[in-house]
Amino acid sequence: MSRSPKQVVLYLILAIMALGFIAPFYFMVVGAFQENPTNTPADMFPTGGWTLENFATINERINLPRSLMNSLVFTAGVLLGTLTFGLLAGYSLARLRWRGRNALFVIMLGVQMVPFQLLMIPLYVQVASYYQLGDTYAGMILPFLINTTAVFIFRQFFLGLPEEIFEAARIDGAGELRVLWSVAIPMVKPAIATVVLITFIGPWNEFLWPFLITKDADTQPLAVSLANFISNSARSEANPNGVILAGACALALPVVILFCLFQRHFRPSDLGAAVKG
C-alpha cells in the first residue's frame, strides 16, 4: 500500500490517541520515583529529584508484600479453578453430546448479562454469614472461581479441532478423560495462554467484592488496601502524590508487564468469538 496522504492522517490520529492512552501511565511511573511529582507540563521530563522514598512510605502504610501476596493468592485460586473446571466444561460443551448441553450454553449467555453488583447483597449474606467465609481467601475466590468468558474461549477452541482425532483416540481405546488430557488439551495450548491472561486481570484488579468481604488488613488484596489508603490517610503524607503513585505502580505493573509479555495471545479473533458466544 502506498503512503498516501490519507494513510498519513490515519497514522497521525492513531499516534495522538495512543499518546493520550499511555500518557497517564508515564505520569504514574515517573511521579512514583519523584520527590515532588510535577503539575506543570514544563517539568514533564525531570532530570533530578529521583527517590525510592515513596515506595518505602507506601510499604510502611499498607504492608506491600503482604497485600501483593493476598492479591496473588486470590488470583491464583481463580486461575486454578478456571483452568480446571473451565477446561472440563468447555470440552464437554464443545465435543460431547449430552442432554442439557444447549440449555447450559443459553444460561451462559444469560450469565454475561447479569450485573454482578446486583448479586452483591445476597452473595454477601451467603458468603459472610451462611458459609462464614468473611476474611478468608475462599470467600474472596468463590464468586469468581470459574470465569464464564474463559469457558466460552475453551469451547470455541475445542470446537475448532477436527472430529477425526477424537474418533481415532477412542478407537485406540482411550477413555474420555484420557482423550481430553492427552489429545485435546495439548492442541489448545494457545487458548490456555489467552485464558490465563484474561482471567488474571479479573481478580487482580477486582475491588468491590474483596472490599466487602475482607475487613482484616492482613487478608486484603492490594487493590483494597491501596483504595483504603487513598481515601483515608493519603492526605496526611508529606508527599501524598508520590506515595499514591508508588502504590498505583505496585498494583498496576505486574499486570502491565504480564500483558506486554503475552499481548500476542490477546487476539481479536479469539476474544471476539468468545464474547459473542
Binding site: K6, Q7, L14, A15, A18, F21, P24, F25, F27, N39, T40, F85, L88, A89, Y91, S92, L93, R97, W98, R99, G100, I107, V111, V114, P115, F116, L118, L119, M120, I121, P122, V125, L142, P143, V151, N205, F207, L208, L212, A223, L226, A227, I230, S231, I244, L245, G247, A248, C249, L251, V255, V256, F259, C260, P268, S269, L271, G272, V275, K276
Partner: protein
C-alpha cells in the same frame, strides 16, 4: 434407555457438573434471593439465626423510588450513559477501523489502547485524581480555562469526568471487539465501493458501519451493563459520589443502603430496578441496531 435420558455421551454432564454447580451457587441462587429479599422486610441476621421476615409487597420499591438520593443516583447514571455509550461506540469503531487500515506499528498501537483496560481501576483512579485535582496537571495546562470548582468537585462536571474516565479505561476492549468484526467484513465490499467512487468516509459509512452491526449491538449492551455497574469510580474518584451526591450511582446506593445502613431489602429493590432498566435499554439497543 439411559442414553435417551442423558444423551449420547452422558460423561459430558459429569465434566460440566462443577461449572453447573458454580453457576447455581453464585448466580442463580443469589439472583433469586435478591428478588426475594426485595419483597420482604429483611435484616441481616447473626450467623445461624433465622429471623422470619415479613412480606411487605412493594414497600421496599416505594421506599427506594421516593428517596431523592436514590432518584438522583438514577439521574446521574442516565447522564453517565448518555455521555459514555455514544462516545464509546464512535471512538472504538473509528480507532479500530484506523488500526485495520494501517500496516505498521499496529502491535504498539494496540498495546497502547489495551493497557488501560487491563490495568486495575484503583491504580488508574489514583492517577486521574491527581491529574484532575485543583492544582493538577490538567488544570495547569488549561490555565485560565480551568473549571472552578475543579473537575471532580464540581457538581456539573463530576459525572461527566467519570464518564470520560470510564470511556478511556474500557475503550481498548471494544476496539478489540471491533477489530475482530472488521476481519470478517469481506475485502471485496471495500473494493467494489472504491470502484463505485466512494471515498474513505463514504466507505466507512456504507461498508464498515453496516458490516459490524452485530458487534455494535454487543458494544452497546456491554457498555450499558458496565455503566450500570458503576461503583469504584464514584466511591474513590469523587470520594463517595460527591459533591453532594452529584456523582453517586445506583450501585453506590446499594452499598450505602445495604451494607453501611443495614437495609438490604431496600438495596435489593434498587438492584432489581437497575436490572430492569438495563434490560429495557438492551432491548432498545436491539431495536436501534436492527437492519431497517
Amino acid at each position: 434407555m439411559l442414553t435417551r435420558i442423558l444423551g449420547k455421551q452422558p460423561f459430558g454432564l459429569a465434566l460440566a457438573v462443577p461449572y453447573v454447580v458454580f453457576l447455581a451457587v453464585v448466580m442463580a441462587y443469589p439472583l433469586a434471593y435478591a428478588v426475594w429479599i426485595s419483597f420482604f422486610d429483611y435484616v441481616f441476621a447473626a450467623p445461624g439465626m433465622d429471623i422470619d421476615a415479613d412480606f411487605v409487597g412493594l414497600a421496599n420499591y416505594q421506599a427506594a423510588l421516593t428517596d431523592p438520593r436514590v432518584l438522583q443516583s438514577f439521574g446521574n447514571i442516565a447522564i453517565f450513559l448518555a455521555i459514555n455509550v455514544p462516545l464509546t461506540v464512535v471512538l472504538s469503531m473509528i480507532l479500530a477501523s484506523a488500526l485495520n487500515a494501517v500496516t505498521r506499528w499496529t502491535a504498539a498501537f494496540r498495546v497502547a489502547f489495551y493497557v488501560p483496560y487491563v490495568t486495575a481501576s484503583v491504580s488508574l483512579i489514583g492517577v486521574w485524581m491527581l491529574l484532575f485535582s485543583q492544582e493538577g496537571l490538567v488544570n495547569t495546562i488549561l490555565g485560565p480555562l480551568a473549571p472552578d470548582p475543579s473537575w471532580l468537585v464540581n457538581e456539573h462536571l463530576a459525572m461527566p469526568s467519570i464518564a470520560l474516565y470510564v470511556t478511556w479505561k474500557q475503550l481498548g476492549f471494544y476496539i478489540l471487539l471491533y477489530l475482530a468484526a472488521l476481519q470478517a467484513v469481506p475485502a471485496e465490499r471495500y473494493e467494489s465501493a472504491s470502484t463505485d467512487g466512494a471515498g474513505i468516509i463514504q466507505r466507512f459509512w456504507h461498508v464498515t458501519v453496516p458490516g459490524v452491526r452485530s458487534t455494535t449491538l454487543i458494544v452497546l449492551i456491554l457498555s450499558i451493563i458496565i455503566g450500570a455497574n458503576l461503583f469504584t469510580e464514584p466511591y474513590l474518584l469523587t470520594n463517595g459520589g460527591g459533591p453532594d451526591g452529584a456523582s453517586s450511582s445506583p450501585v453506590l446506593m446499594i452499598y450505602q443502603k445495604g451494607i453501611q445502613q443495614g437495609n438490604p431489602d431496600v438495596a435489593s429493590a434498587i438492584g432489581v430496578i437497575l436490572v430492569i432498566g438495563v434490560g429495557l435499554l438492551s432491548l432498545l439497543s436491539t431495536r436501534l441496531t436492527k437492519e431497517s
